[in-house]
């Protein structure tokens, strides 16, 4: 595994500890609450209890109720107040309990947070970070499984980020909190405890046994707009992010195809050069995401690749994605684009 993870200099010498993704996210918030008195953390159940996924456990006890607190069940209110806090000068880090529940906040996200700097010509800004667990694989049914990233990438002014491992999760979350733009920070919940590769019938390896579960204890960032070459390869390029990074890795192992796997990390704005260079080298491209296919972010990636790599492409770009249906409950594993479906696409791309 060849991981090109640029980090800021100060982190290099820092002590590392094994962390799950949950611990890494908590550590990021802990570091930022400590460093910057203008950082506040809130959301449904995040205060006393520490969040339904426990990402904020202990933070209220450490920083007090004025800086880490429970919010009413109103996603619109959570984001709307965060915008107001941004106008004041705070940096709110808010949690939407499941990405499926961001819709009541969409006006505040799209019409307000994303456009405030623009419409006020920089007079006001909304440097907020909106965390949301996303993705399926936990038998959560259609309202605990969605991956709505494509919707955010269509909204200019937003940054959309999705880590695939504890190291990136912490570094990207710190970078997002420090960023002066509003950031949608999507956390693939199926990766909270280990690098799930889509083989749901096998026990998942814990992060403690994965190198990317080694996380520096202090402050560091993984820069936004930088993709990682998760696995170098020569035969085809896989462009993916989140859970599908590991599913794609499984498909590589199972097909033996020497694919280069690009983990986008920042979905939009994105690190276009890394993609283009890779596809121009391999000539074949498979785009993989868990979200519904039609008008998913894979469509944009496909469009970009065909635009920038047209003369290097030897086969149609393949898209592997969730089916165009709500995320079903019982048929979850028929819905989830697992290693077999990814492998089929690899083969199609190689044979074309």
């Amino acid at each position: 595994m060849d991981i090109k993870t640029r980090t800021n200099q100060t982190s290099i010498s820092m002590r590392k500890t094994p962390m799950t993704m949950i611990q890494a996210l908590r550590s990021a918030m802990d570091v930022m609450l400590e460093r910057d008195p203008n950082v506040v953390v809130y959301g449904q159940d995040v205060g006393y209890f520490g969040g339904v996924f426990r990402c904020t456990e202990g933070l209220q006890a450490k920083y007090g109720k004025s800086r880490v607190f429970d919010a009413p069940i109103s996603e619109g209110g959570i984001v709307g107040t965060a915008v107001g806090m941004g106008a004041y000068g705070l940096r709110a880090v808010v949690e939407i309990q499941f990405a499926d529940y961001f819709y009541p906040a969409s006006d505040q996200i799209v019409s307000e947070a994303a456009r405030l700097r623009y419409r006020s010509a920089g007079d006001f800004t909304a440097p907020i970070t909106i965390r949301m667990p996303c993705g399926g694989g936990i038998y959560g049914g259609q309202t605990h499984s969605q991956s709505p990233e494509a919707l955010f990438t269509h909204v200019c002014g937003l940054r959309t980020v999705m880590p695939s491992n504890p190291y990136d999760a912490k570094g990207l979350l710190i970078a997002s909190i420090e960023c002066d733009d509003p950031v949608i920070f999507l956390e693939p919940k199926r990766l909270y405890n280990g690098p799930f590769d889509g083989h749901h019938d096998k026990p998942v390896v814990p992060w403690s046994r994965h190198p990317l579960g080694e996380v520096p204890e202090g402050h560091y960032t993984v820069p936004l707009e930088s993709a990682a070459v998760f696995r170098a390869g020569s035969e085809l390029t896989v462009i993916t992010y989140g859970t599908m990074v590991f599913v794609s890795e499984a498909a590589v192992l199972e097909t033996g195809i020497d694919a280069e796997i690009i983990d986008l990390r920042s979905l939009w704005p994105l690190d276009l050069d890394t993609l283009v260079n890779s596809v121009n080298k391999t000539g074949r491209c498979v785009v993989v995401h868990e979200a519904t296919r039609t008008s998913g972010f894979g469509a944009e990636l496909t469009a970009l690749v065909q635009e920038h790599c047209f003369y290097h492409l030897e086969a149609p770009i393949e898209r592997v994605a969730g089916w165009d249906t709500p995320y079903p409950h019982a048929q979850e594993w028929a819905y989830f684009p697992g290693p077999a479906r990814v492998a089929t696409a690899f083969k199609r791309a190689m044979e074309a």
């Binding site: 205060g47 819709y103 259609q142």
Partner: protein, 411 residues
Amino acid sequence: MTEHEPLRLHVPEPTGRPGRHTDFSYLHVSSAGEVRRPPVDTRPVDTNDLAYVLVRVLDDDGRAVGPWVMQTDPKLLRRGLRAMMKTRIFDARMLIAQRQRKMSFYMQCLGEEAIAIAHALALEPGDMCFPTYRQQGLLLARDDVDMVEMICQLLSNERDPMKGRQLPVMYSYKRAGFFSISGNLATQFVQAVGWGMASAIKGDTRIASGWIGDGATAEADFHTALTFAHVYRAPVILNVVNNQWAISTFQAIAGGEATTFAARGVGCGIASLRVDGNDFLAVYAASQWAAGRARSNLGPTLIEWVTYRAGPHSTSDDPSKYRPADDWAHFPLGDPIARLKQHLIALGAWSEQEHEHAQKELEAQVAAAQKEAERYGTLADGHMRSAAEMFKDVYKDMPEHLRRQRRQLGV
């Protein structure tokens, strides 16, 4: 402007936490019989006082007292008691089935049984409820909803009427006046108003009944429902189940501190009541009152049902992390089943023996239903609806792109 004292953020706290008993005096409990019963055509603004007190009928000795006492056939009360018992047994067994991993998830209504059940009995055939996930009592109060089918839904098995698409407890029974449950909180509250408006547009006589939890009242759709119900004088009952908790957050985080959820109704020009939700007779009487208003073109009624979520939020939750473990035992409004039982026994219309007998009979009924349902499989054993079902009902007719995807999956 240094003359001012520094501002402070107020973050409400419950009066109890793990290791510290709850002081329930924040509830402002009226005594039974104390609260007036206004005429059904009262002006909404004149219900203001009723939004801050608690309509109660059953006193501590199980006697029905005061202006909200209605002439109710003891048969109906016995039916209500049995339905509450059945619901509690059902919940308990399903909880075990979930622990045995036969189903992925479950949600009980322990301690809140009286609300949905007495309400269901106060409605008429054809009325439509828009419930949350904690109103299984609306279904279990009826004789025409097959428990086997309900359990098939919970097991996500081959006979799951929702075809495996929904989480357990997300039932839909149009024929039984039970709207499809959504995972997104509060949305159904507005839809209930829309259904009621439709009934009014058509000159129908059926009414709607919308449901929401204390926590979910903070969602926008709560306000939206109140606004539309008020503006169009929609024939709808707006039920707010205040069970004191929303997962780990106390009702004050939803806005219950120093006010009530019923009071929000009055502000919006809606007649409102605050009612003891653990008092079967009070629930029945208040529901009848509200239904009468709706059916007489007098408009909506908001009812805050005060109760307590005795169990965990769901099978994914551990309430001992955020509240005293024995909280329910101290809740001043008691157990709705015990209270109705006491009343019926006092009336001479029920006995300990009958109770015990009913308990056994209902346990057997639920067990038999479960057994039969399990014959059609469970999520765990993989006997579920085919993956082909996944592509159906996205649209009325399956468009070409879904056919293509279905072919790709090979189903």
